[in-house]
């Protein structure tokens, strides 16, 4: 499970940190293990293209690596594209079989990103992610 690319993203996460005055942000947590992640997005001048993404929080290697990979995937794409991004695209990138419990770790960052875009841009938030919106940590 801990193949080289996962370990690389885990040990050298892309976009770890905070964007002050982010254009979009959200927090979420995984009730199974208590892990938390916050995602910050800034847009380019067109207001649609994602210029930068950062994340903070605590989590296992799978959740940290998956969120780091998501940062690479998200930059330069439009908000709508990310809102529509199927979770299988990220899972293909992760490229390892995940048990249902670890699946929640891997997809936490993607869900929080979709919530952030939904709140800032009104992009649709399909039912499977809606729970995260309600679970926002105050």
């Amino acid at each position: 499970m801990y193949r080289e690319v996962i370990l690389d993203h885990y040990k050298n996460p892309r976009g770890h940190g905070v964007i002050e005055d982010a254009d979009a942000e959200a927090e979420g947590f995984n009730p199974l293990c208590g892990d938390e992640v916050s995602i910050y997005v800034s847009f380019a001048e067109d207001g649609e293209t994602i210029d930068d993404v950062k994340f903070s929080g605590r989590g296992c290697a799978i959740s940290q690596a998956a969120t780091s990979m998501l940062v690479d995937m998200a930059k330069g794409r439009k908000a709508q594209e990310l809102a529509d991004l199927p979770k299988d695209d990220l899972l293909d990138e992760i490229g390892i079989p995940l048990t249902p419990i670890r699946l929640k770790c891997a997809l936490l960052g993607l869900g929080v990103l979709k919530v952030a875009l939904h709140r800032a841009k009104g992009t649709p938030l399909p039912q499977e992610w809606a729970g995260l919106d309600e679970l926002e940590l105050k």
Binding site: M1, Y2, L7, Y10, L32, C33, G34, D35, E36, R58, G59, C60, A61, I62, R102, C105
Partner: protein, 417 residues
């Protein structure tokens, strides 16, 4: 010269007992199973599995209903299990034992059937910071519903209850309920339930004890504990899942409203109204987990044959051994009291490595531990962590399994640090 009575606790032979447990006959990821998650649920010996199978094959029917031979055998099996539970807990009456699905349901039964009718504004419900969510969330919910005050007894740095803060905690309210676990499922701390019960009774409050984690590992004598309700579950003491019991004082049970409503719990049903059956039937609506109750009884027979004192001593030895071995690793932090004051449970964290990753890599080595918040989020908040790793032991645990845990932790460090 006076006679000297020498009592010697039997020592159990865990290696020999393992032969009773079919689960250990397989390889996990090509390796022998090191099962260090018995606090979540225990494995089942052949004696219990056989008892359930034999019951289904020879004596099964619904209970308390039919007049035919099989129905009588089934009723005898089910009620016989109640007598076994009553003896196990040293209840003064078998009727004080109510079968439930698990300890959680037992506590919910008390919270709803007693709490809803006896709590209100100005009353205080006290729980502890160590509680499993099972003995925390029901009381929090019922307190909020009734307007009672919900308060939490804090822990010291070793994870033991701050009894010195009790009187302050009671300030300005009428304490009606004190709810505490006998053994913490996260830290293994053994709580002074007798003292809490005495304190509760000085204030005419009831003492509710969650003994789900205590009953598998030490003698639980409800009369000596002094509690008013004690909840246990079968699956943690070598029995099947889906069955547990709550013991309560008869005068309280008699005065309580029912919990679940339906068949068997009634005395007379008319269109206008219904009267309730006698205790314990009043609390056992619908068809119960009959074969599971029989398995529950068989499990109690099994652990009683091994001996609760011997089990307790074995687990103390394992906890001491595990704490010693983990102390060799400067990058491992353990939580909870010293070995002599804890049951066979050790919670720990590996520096900078998330428990999920620890548990996942250990799984590849055939070592099963729990990683998470252990249904104790208030405790995790106190420890300042989101989650811990937990290794827990039972009568079939051998030191070699702890050695394999330590070897596995070295591998975790090698991969992730």
């Amino acid at each position: 010269m006076a006679d000297v009575a020498v009592t010697e606790t039997r020592k159990l032979d865990a290696q020999k007992l393992r032969a009773d447990f079919p689960i250990f006959e397989q390889l996990i990821h090509g390796k022998p199973l090191s099962f260090l998650d018995s606090a979540a649920s225990s494995q089942k010996p052949r004696q219990v599995l056989d008892a359930i199978r034999t019951f289904y094959e020879t004596s099964y029917a619904n209970v308390h209903r039919g007049v035919y031979e099989l129905a009588e055998r089934a009723t005898a099996g089910y009620e016989g299990a109640r007598e076994t539970v009553a003896r196990f807990l040293n209840a003064s009456s078998t009727r004080e034992v109510i079968f439930t699905r698990n300890a959680t349901e037992g506590i919910n039964l008390v919270a709803y059937a007693w709490g809803l009718n006896n709590l209100g504004p100005g009353d205080v419900v006290v729980v502890t910071q160590l509680e499993h969510h099972s003995n925390f969330v029901p009381w929090q919910y019922i307190a909020h519903r009734t307007g009672a005050d919900f308060r939490m007894l804090a822990l010291d740095e070793q994870g033991e209850l701050r009894l010195d803060e009790l009187d302050d905690l009671a300030g300005g309210g009428r304490v009606k309920v004190v709810a505490a676990g006998l053994v913490s499922n996260s830290l293994g701390s053994v709580n002074p339930v007798e003292k809490l019960a005495a304190w509760a009774h000085e204030r005419a409050a009831i003492m509710v004890c969650d003994a789900a984690q205590g009953a598998p590992h030490r003698v639980v004598d409800v009369q000596a504990l002094g509690a008013d309700f004690v909840a246990i579950t079968a699956h943690k003491l070598c029995g099947p899942s889906g069955i547990g019991a709550v013991w309560g004082r008869m005068e309280l049970l008699e005065a309580m409203e029912p919990f679940n409503l339906g068949g068997h719990m009634i005395s007379r049903v008319r269109f206008e109204d219904t009267s309730w059956g006698e205790v314990p039937a009043k609390f056992e609506a619908g068809t119960q987990a009959i074969a599971e109750a029989v398995g529950f009884g068989a499990a109690i027979d099994y652990i009683s044959e091994v001996g609760l004192d011997a089990i307790e001593r074995h687990e103390h030895e394992l906890a001491a051994y595990a704490l010693d071995r983990l102390a060799e690793l400067p990058w491992v932090k353990t939580y909870g009291p010293p070995a002599d004051r804890r049951a066979g449970i050790v919670s720990f964290n590996v520096e900078d490595i998330h428990p999920h990753d620890v548990a996942q890599i250990l799984d590849g080595e055939g070592v099963a531990i729990r990683a998470g918040h252990h249904c104790c989020q208030p405790l995790m908040a106190k420890l300042g962590v989101a989650a811990t790793n937990r290794a827990s032991f039972y009568l079939y645990t051998v030191p070699d399994e702890i050695d394999r845990l330590v070897d596995g932790l070295h591998k975790v460090r090698k991969i992730l640090s």
